[in-house]
Every structure is written in C-alpha cells, then in structure tokens.
C-alpha cells in the first residue's frame, strides 16, 4: 500500500518524514549491531512475501504483512520497512523519494501499534493467540488504509471520495491479512516460537 509521488502536499510530506525519522531513530536505537543481520534478512523475507499474490474471487491481491513484521521486529519495523521501500523503489522503479517518509509511516506505525496491542497475547492459549493474530493482521492493514485516507484528506478535502474508495477497496485485503496472520502465527508457534514476542521458554538451537 503506497501513495504515488506528486499527489501529496508539502506539509503532509514533511510530517510523514518527521514521523518516519522519529520512528526509525527509535527502531535503530533498539537494534544493536548484532541484531542487524537478523532484521535485514527478515526485511528481505518481508519484501519477498509481499510479492505473494493471493487469489480472491476472480482477481488477486498481494500480501502486505505489516502486522506480522510488527510482531517479529517491534520498533525495528520502522527501519526494516524503510529499507524495504527504498529497495522496492529502485528494483521496481516505483520511485518514491519524496513519499518515502509518508509511506514508511503508513506501513510501520500500524505495525508498531499492533506490536504493543497484540504482542503480549501471542504466547497465550491457542484460541486467544489466534484471535489476536487475526486482529493484528486485520487492524494493521485497517490503520494503514486510514492513514492513506488521512494523508489524502490533509492534502486536499476534495480527495474525500478517493480516500473512502481506498479504505473500502482494502476491506477484503484486511480479512485476508487477518486470516493469513492467524495461520502464520499458528505455524510459527509450532515451528519456531522464539521468533514471536513474549517467548519465555528455553531456546533449543
């Protein structure tokens, strides 16, 4: 989910940059040099996973997965998503220099919010964990869509129609993201629970 260049106004671009810079600064502070390979390779996995196209009815959508990135990296989601967007911009020729701040915030802030909301629930009994994982996937995309809408609205009030269209168009995506997040967390709990937040058992590796 990203906003193209040339659409947003100066103040919106500036606040996006400020928020992204603050989030990235916190994220980098919490990420010491020993954890950087980990964050980088997860960021690469996030990049590749967002190329996965999931069918829905006659068409298909690609996964966004910012909720899961939030769960796996916490505040590290900011620098990880920033890098992923930079790479996407170059590799797919999307561009995105001026909108890098806004787009990072749109994806990463919901990820961090979901980390705080649901991070502590994931290690609980299975049905609580699955419901919160679903909510995590659903709400992270929902918040991102709201933020896209807000960025458009603050630019120009006449963007109301488009902002509403963006949010409505993402409703099915939210449900799919929720379902995928729930299954994904269930899978990770079985296979490698130490990746998820709040894991307290011993790590056998």
């Amino acid at each position: 989910m990203h906003i193209s260049e040339g659409v947003l106004s100066g103040p919106v671009l500036a606040s996006g940059i400020a928020l992204a810079a603050a989030g990235t600064a916190i994220g980098l502070k919490r990420l010491d040099y020993d954890r950087i390979p980990h964050a980088a390779i997860l960021s690469a996995a996030f990049f590749v996973a967002s190329l996965v196209h999931v069918p829905i009815g006659p068409s298909s959508v690609h996964l966004i997965l910012n909720g899961i990135v939030g769960l796996l990296l916490g505040w590290g989601a900011f620098p990880a998503i920033l890098t992923a967007l930079l790479l996407q911009g170059v590799l797919f020729q999307f561009g995105g220099i001026t909108t890098l701040g806004v787009n990072t915030t749109i994806m990463a802030l919901p990820a961090v919010i979901c980390y705080y909301l649901f991070g502590c629930m994931i290690q609980k009994k299975s049905y609580i964990a699955y419901i919160s994982a679903f909510a995590c996937g659903f709400i992270s995309v929902f918040l991102s869509a709201i933020m896209v809408g807000a960025a458009l609205m603050f630019t120009q009030e006449s963007f109301l129609g488009i902002a509403a269209a963006v949010i409505i168009a993402h409703l099915p995506v939210m449900i799919i993201e929720g379902v995928v997040a729930a299954f994904c967390v269930a899978f990770l709990k079985k296979v490698q629970p130490e990746l998820l937040p709040g894991f307290s058992g011993s790590i056998n590796s």
């Binding site: 040339g6 997860l42 220099i97 995928v180």
Partner: protein, 251 residues
C-alpha cells in the same frame, strides 16, 4: 524475477558520480512535488526528459514502468474533475467537469511523471550496492546502510527460497482458489520464509563474526569527482534555481 533493469550502461548519466545523482534526484523530486504553476511544471518535465535522454535507456521499458503509475492517475481523472467544486468547464449529460478539478488532475499527472522519469534516469541507473555506498558517503546512519546492503544481498536468496516452496506445493497438486486451504498454504509459506530467514540470519551473523567483521562494508568502486561531474552539477543547480524562480514569480 527481481532484476535491476537499468543499472548497467555506459551513457553519460551512468558515468556521473552516484552521490551527485542521489543529491539532485532528491532535490529535484521535492522541487517538482512542491511546484504548482504550469510554467514550472512544464520546464521540469522538459528537464526530466533531458535527463532520460542522458541515460539512454530503452524507451519501451521506461514507458512500461511509467504505466504502473498511470493506473492511479487514471483513477484520479475519473474522480477529481467530477468531485472538486468550482466553475464548471463543460458537461456531458448529467456529469459536470469542473475547471479546478481538471487543473488539479493535470498537475498531479505532470508531477508524478516528472518525478518518476527523473528517478528512473538518475537513481535506477546505478546498482543497489553503489546506491548504498553513496548513501553512506552522504552520511546516512551506518545502521541503515548495513540494513540496506544486507537486505539487498538476501532478497535474491529469499526469492529463490520462495520459488522452491512454490514449486514444492505445485508438484503436490496445489491449485490456488478462494478458500481456507489456499490461505493456510500461503500463510505457511510466509511463515516458512520467516523461519528460514531467521535461521539463515544466525548463520550469516556467525560467519561474519568468524571473518572478523568490524562493522564496515568496503566498496571496490571508487568515487572520484571528475570534470564532467562538476559540469553536470552546475547545470543541475542552475536548472533547480530556474524551476524555483518559475514557481515563485508571476509572469
């Protein structure tokens, strides 16, 4: 497959110092994004096309890339002229197209194309390792550079891993559809990617420690500023000043 389509070449643009290209791509993008007046926008468009000519890219491929952005612009053209309030320009049946709506759509169309063209001409003409190293020389924090270069290094590896998983499910007769089984399969693939990525990260980290990684990435490509770099820089600076003047004064 992920590939760097425009990264290699021998045009004038490819040979200009990447640091200058990054700096001017950034400045130009912001100048264009904040312009609203048509003389400035048209001058910027001419500059973008000029930069593209300097990069001598395959025009067909460039247009293909631009088309990806045109989808959203088309949506704007369908919505904005009808919803922005103001003096009506013309009407087709019950639909009234307003002047401010059309002007706004035109501005956005111009801006996105200008910025994207400039970006393709200046940034995608370097490979990502070079981009990482030039960002480092431009004092971007070290940790971001590490993250950037390592992510770049492993995107291709993880992509391979993803295709292996896809081949595996295909050989077992998996057919995607809109159902629970499909979503679970994809979720497990994503989960597996994360698991493998994290295991790989541990091994990479251990290997880096074993080889005495001291927190620096060395670059083999030297950055040396030549006369043509300064020539290009003065030209671009002048162009930026002209664009700002065109935006600010009323002619």
């Amino acid at each position: 497959m992920i590939e760097e389509t425009f990264a290699y070449g021998s045009s004038v643009m490819h040979r200009i110092d990447p640091r200058f290209r990054v700096v001017f791509a950034t400045i130009f993008s912001f100048v264009a994004a904040l312009s609203t007046r048509f003389p400035a926008l048209i001058a910027a468009l001419i500059l973008s096309v000029l930069l593209l000519c300097m990069a001598r890219l395959n025009l067909l491929k460039v247009i293909k890339k631009l088309m990806a952005a045109w989808g959203f612009i088309l949506l704007l053209w369908l919505v904005l002229p009808l919803t922005v309030k103001g003096e009506p320009l013309f009407s087709v049946g019950p639909l009234i197209f307003t002047r401010p709506g059309i002007i706004l759509s035109l501005q956005i169309t111009l801006k996105s194309n200008i910025i994207l063209l400039a970006y393709i001409a200046m940034i995608t003409t370097m490979n990502l390792a070079t981009l990482g190293h030039s960002l480092k020389r431009l004092r971007v924090p070290d940790k971001i550079i590490h993250l950037f270069l390592l992510t770049y290094r492993y995107i291709f590896v993880i992509e391979q891993e993803y295709y292996r998983l896809v081949w595996a499910i295909k050989t077992r007769g998996f057919r995607p559809g809109t159902n629970r089984h499909t979503y679970r399969t994809y979720a497990y693939i994503v989960g597996m990617l994360f698991v493998r990525a994290s295991e790989r990260a541990n091994r990479v980290h251990q290997a880096m420690i074993c080889r005495g990684f001291k927190g620096r990435f060395y670059s083999l490509s030297k950055f040396s500023v030549m006369r043509q770099d300064w020539l290009w820089t003065s030209f671009m600076s002048l162009a930026m000043i002209v664009l700002v003047i065109l935006e600010w004064i009323n002619i």
